[in-house]
């Protein structure tokens, strides 16, 4: 392996300004690299590469029994929240939400507000019962977690009597 290269004599190098052709070429690469960094930053701020200005989405099922606010793009390992709004059965003081197992597993569900009254595990889903202030027509539930998935992923929830609400989120590293 050759380590000593045949560089021109130093006075000649200095006279020629060393390697101006390379430095001019590198300048172009530098500008392209900086532009790419700006585009990346803009993507992050805008919400294309994680939670950002335009990443929040709202989904609602046809019978309006459930609605969800979530980030369309989430980052693996970074905290994210899903806000669920559910219809409360008339005169009821609790609401039961069945959610896909992926919400617990792939979303890394770490906290639920308010604290559930009861958990029931199924094969591919989890049924969670929440206490509700008597007389309320709608209830608000906050799910927090750190996603561990990459790429597109679909989650779903439904009430005991009601249509299923599903939404998709995209996980990035």
């Amino acid at each position: 392996m050759k380590i000593i290269h045949d560089d021109p004599p130093m006075p000649e190098e200095i006279e020629n300004g060393f390697y101006p052709r390379f430095e001019n070429g590198w300048r172009h690469a530098e500008v392209v690299g900086r532009c790419l960094m700006v585009v990346f930053i803009a993507g992050c701020v805008g919400g294309l590469l994680g939670p950002g200005l335009f990443s929040e989405r709202h989904a609602q099922n046809h019978d309006a029994s459930l609605a969800a606010d979530y980030d369309a793009v989430v980052r693996a390992g970074a905290p994210t929240t899903i806000k669920l709004e559910t219809r409360v059965p008339p005169g009821g003081d609790q609401v039961a939400v069945t959610m896909s197992r992926d919400l617990v597993d792939d979303l890394g569900l770490s906290s639920i507000t308010p604290a559930p009254q009861r958990w029931q595990a199924g094969n591919h889903n989890v049924r969670i019962t929440f206490p509700v202030v008597a007389g309320q027509k709608r209830a608000f539930i906050l799910l927090s977690g750190s996603p561990s998935f990459h790429g597109g992923h679909t989650f779903w929830v439904h009430l005991d009597a009601g249509e299923t609400l599903s939404w998709s989120q995209f996980g990035v590293p």
Binding site: I3, H5, I14, G17, F18, E23, E30, G77
Partner: protein, 146 residues
């Protein structure tokens, strides 16, 4: 395994970004340049290790970065084009009293930086400077007139 992969990727990304933002920062000439380096270090650590606070996790990242450095250094010896790509080449910014403004602008250097280098060399007059060269590591070499 993820930590090793992330550490290797972080080494490459930080190397490329440092090169892209220019050699001024690499030479730590001013406090504002050091801020960038400190932040780079801190952000990279959190990106590589995340919630993994274990000793083995940190060591695996440390060894990976060390071995990446050895590998890249070896490749730089083997391929001159890679050496130029990663380290750049020296740039003449002052030659026989003529400033190379374009190079100064690209390097984000001010006349004051060259004057500082001249003073550090023990010169009190820019007329005594024959050539000022910004080296690959961002330091400024002054060659005096005979």
């Amino acid at each position: 395994m993820q930590t090793v992969f992330k550490a290797a990727l972080a080494y490459l990304v930080v190397t490329i970004v440092l090169r892209i933002i220019g050699r001024r920062t690499a030479s730590q000439q001013a406090p504002m340049d050091m801020v960038v380096l400190f932040l780079f270090g801190g952000l990279s650590v959190s990106a590589v290790l995340g919630e993994d606070h274990s000793f083995f996790g940190a060591m695996s990242a440390l060894f990976t970065v060390g071995m990446m450095h050895v590998a890249v250094s070896w490749l730089k010896i083997r391929f001159v084009w890679l050496e130029r790509l990663l380290d750049g080449t020296p740039i003449v910014v002052l030659h026989d009293g003529r400033w190379t403004e374009q190079a100064m602008r690209r390097l984000r250097l001010q006349q004051a930086d060259i004057r500082t280098a001249a003073r550090q060399r023990g010169l009190d007059d820019m007329e005594q400077v024959k050539v000022a060269i910004v080296e690959r590591d961002g330091t400024i070499s002054i060659i005096e007139k005979d």
